[in-house]
């Protein structure tokens, strides 16, 4: 079973590697955006990493719900793994965004609703990981509650650009992308999805091994 999982991970990693190798060619051939020009090509990485962050948060939130209400330790391990990926992809989004903003808006950061809510979402999952690391006994349940809170914030972050006045492009941009831009964009989304699955699988296996190590240490301490 472990060998099978390992083989699937290698297949996924190979798929992600091929997709990311092709992505720069597609991005280079895609047309420039009329008002923002070259810098708008950050969209091919910036938006997919946010999609992956949202996906990681949903995985974390649903797994945390299962852990809270059904008490399944495997769900908790999946939640921790996904929370780490949420922070990782959030960090990618929060660094690529200001680089785009500096050229397009003339400012690295503006305290507008979308940016502020995205920062709060990132900090929520940083808090989740800190709680897991330093929270002591019972922190698993507390962090699961925090993950649910974070998950319910995702739709608010997503629609914030349509509800409040903001500098950030609205959610209609991606669905209305022309074919020449949509092709490379969705290619990159799938490439990041493959990368996400590889990372999640690797992190989940590590969490399983850590749990096994803890169990064996306890057994060893009781025995000797």
């Amino acid at each position: 079973m472990t060998r099978m999982t390992g083989r699937w991970s290698i297949v996924r990693l190979a798929v992600a590697a091929v997709m990311f190798a092709v992505a720069p060619l597609l991005i280079a051939q895609a047309p420039y955006e009329a008002t923002m020009g070259l810098v708008a090509k950050i969209v091919y990485f910036h938006v997919p990493v946010w999609f992956m962050m949202f996906l990681a948060i949903f995985v974390c939130g649903i797994s945390s719900g299962i852990y809270l209400f059904r008490e399944r330790p495997a769900a908790d391990r999946l939640a921790v793994s996904a929370a780490e990926l949420a922070v990782l992809f959030g960090a990618m989004g929060l660094t690529t965004g200001p680089l785009w903003a500096r050229v397009s808006w003339g400012a690295w950061w503006v305290w507008d609703v979308r940016l502020t809510l995205a920062l709060i979402l990132e900090m929520t999952f940083v808090a989740y990981l800190l709680l897991r690391k330093y929270g002591g006994p019972g922190s698993d349940k507390l962090s699961a509650g925090l993950a649910l809170f974070g998950m319910f914030n995702v739709p608010i972050v997503y629609v914030s650009v349509n509800v409040w006045r903001t500098l950030h492009p609205s959610t209609t941009v991606v669905p209305t992308l022309g074919a020449s831009m949509a092709g490379p964009f969705w290619w990159c989304v799938l490439a990041f999805l493959a990368l996400f699955l590889v990372m999640l699988e690797g992190r989940r296996r590590l969490a399983d091994q850590e749990a096994e190590l803890d169990r064996l240490r306890l057994a060893y301490d009781e025995e000797y």
């Binding site: 070259l38 990493v49 990618m92 590590l206 096994e212 064996l216």
Partner: protein, 117 residues
């Protein structure tokens, strides 16, 4: 009389200490007075109104390529950094599992949990 002479000596001794800052201030004032016309001439015209334009002048535009390259590089640095961190943690756990197996006597039965891990 000795006390008087002592006071006088104090006053006399204090004079150079007061004279030095005054001389420095005077020299600075003279320097500024001499430099002011040239300095003032180098100042740009004051801005009295904002003139709107539709297009940003070419020299004011930030070149986009370094920002684009930096953005893509950051994503890759973070991704590879995470993989490196993951592999290091995995190696630590495997080392600990091996250490635990070494310290623990080998059980007779085949289903050793350490091997399964």
């Amino acid at each position: 009389m000795p006390a008087m002479s002592l006071r006088n000596r104090d006053r006399g001794g204090g004079r150079p200490r007061r004279a030095l800052p005054a001389a420095l201030a005077l020299a600075l004032a003279a320097l500024l007075a001499g430099a002011t016309p040239a300095w003032a001439a180098a100042q740009p015209e004051p801005v009295n109104e904002f003139v709107p334009i539709d297009e940003l002048p070419e020299e004011d535009r930030l070149p986009a390529a370094p920002f684009l390259i930096t953005a893509y590089s950051i994503v890759w640095i973070l991704a590879f950094g995470y993989f490196w961190l993951l592999s290091r943690r995995q190696a630590d756990v495997e080392r600990d599992l091996a250490e635990l197996a070494r310290r623990r006597p080998v059980p007779d039965d085949d289903d050793d949990p350490l091997e399964a891990a």
